[in-house]
């Protein structure tokens, strides 16, 4: 349990720039190192967490916690994910209102941002392998990515449509 809390607090501390930035960290810590969930489970989980309301990163951690220790685990993971940022923001609000005006802070974040984008892009190939994507199914992620990127379609609708597609495909096979 303590291990669970520390792992998610660590992930929470290094997630900068939104929930997707958390995925490579979860992959490294939770899938590769601790083997709490499989790569395939993580892919499914991303879809579920994205389709649910609320904070993506918290939703991910709730499932992983629940899988290991049921409700108690979910509680511990949520706390672990939320607590570091809660404390950091409180400290900033209390003492460093002018945090953003320090030049060094801006420089550090200019260095971090490209790395965060790279870390979000890096798991794509591993995810594709876990999803068993072949040359004949490559159009699915391509169409999904383009419709979100260029047409601004909400990811929630994309997942919904994909689920309907999968269901229809399953029925046709019967």
């Amino acid at each position: 349990m303590l291990e669970l809390f520390i792992t998610f607090a660590k992930i929470g501390c290094f997630t900068i720039g939104g929930g997707y930035a958390m995925i490579p960290l979860i992959e490294e810590q939770v899938v590769s190192r601790k083997k709490w969930v499989t790569q395939e489970e993580l892919t499914d989980l991303i879809a579920v967490a994205q389709s649910c309301p609320g904070i993506f990163a918290v939703n991910l951690s709730i499932f992983i916690g629940y899988k290991l220790y049921r409700t108690r685990g979910a509680l511990v993971c949520t706390l672990g994910t939320a607590l570091p940022s809660f404390i950091i923001i409180l400290l900033i609000a209390l003492f460093f209102q002018r945090f953003r005006e320090y030049a060094i802070v801006n420089s550090i974040f200019r260095g971090i941002r490209p790395a965060v984008v790279a870390l979000i892009a890096a798991p794509v190939f591993r995810m594709a392998r876990a999803a068993q994507i072949t040359l004949s199914t490559m159009w699915i992620p391509a169409v999904c990515a383009l419709s979100i990127w260029l047409l601004g379609v909400s990811p929630v609708y994309v997942i919904l449509l994909a689920a309907i597609g999968g269901y229809t495909y399953g029925q046709l096979l019967k």
């Binding site: 660590k10 720039g17 939104g18 997707y20 490579p24 960290l25 490294e28 892919t43 579920v48 967490a49 994205q50 309301p53 609320g54 904070i55 993506f56 918290v58 939703n59 709730i62 499932f63 899988k67 979910a74 949520t78 570091p84 940022s85 809660f86 950091i88 923001i89 409180l90 209390l94 945090f99 953003r100 420089s107 550090i108 974040f109 260095g111 971090i112 490209p114 790395a115 965060v116 984008v117 870390l119 979000i120 892009a121 794509v124 876990a130 999803a131 992620p141 391509a142 999904c144 383009l146 990127w149 990811p155 929630v156 997942i159 994909a162 689920a163 999968g166 269901y167 495909y169 399953g170």
Partner: protein, 190 residues
């Protein structure tokens, strides 16, 4: 009083906040700035900027900060501000916590059911697309600068992007270490 209002507003945001941190931020703005006037637009913009720059999910950061600032702005002392930030953060997490518990239970129970399996056969490739879209959407001038604007920053940004990408893909360097290294590089070079 304000504490109860904060709780209700953030509970609603947590319940209807589909589509990730940024969608949530615009909902928070609507409630906190436009409807309730707890904060001005300028104050809110600063809060969002700091929430993006600090570690942790943007939704949690914004809720914590707005909870604190709204209380202090209304004339309450700092300790009441802390209570406000706790209330807002708790309220924003509560709905998805309950919902995700139910879904987790269902998923673990029925993951081998043929219908659930066929749903995920469609969903899995879509998630790959989601990740591609997420990285494309982040390749902006804001994150990388541009050759015309600041060639040096653009060049370093592209270099750090490639460094982190190859470091993770080929050499499997720990992501935390990669972020720390790029932070140091940023402090020295940018």
């Amino acid at each position: 009083m304000l504490l109860i209002q904060l709780f209700i507003v953030f509970l609603i945001i947590g319940l209807f906040g589909f589509g990730g941190g940024y969608a949530m931020v615009s909902m928070i703005q609507g409630e906190v700035v436009t409807s309730n006037h707890w904060l001005t637009t300028g104050q809110f913009t600063d809060i969002v900027a700091i929430s993006q720059m600090t570690p942790g999910p943007i939704g949690i950061n914004t809720a914590t900060y707005v909870g604190y600032s709204s209380m202090v702005q209304a004339g309450y002392p700092a300790w009441m501000g802390i209570l406000g930030s706790f209330t807002a953060t708790f309220a924003v997490v509560l709905p998805s916590f309950i919902l995700m518990l139910i879904i987790s239970k269902f998923l673990l129970q029925y993951k081998d059911h043929p219908v659930v399996e066929s749903l995920f056969i469609g969903i899995r490739p879509a998630v790959v697309g989601l990740l591609i879209a997420a990285s494309l959407l982040l390749m902006t001038r804001e994150n990388f600068s541009s050759p015309g604007e600041d060639a040096w920053q653009f060049f370093i940004s592209v270099f750090l992007f490639l460094f982190a990408f190859i470091g993770q893909r080929v050499y499997h360097i720990n992501p935390i270490r990669l972020i720390a290294l790029c932070a140091i590089a940023g402090a020295i070079l940018l």
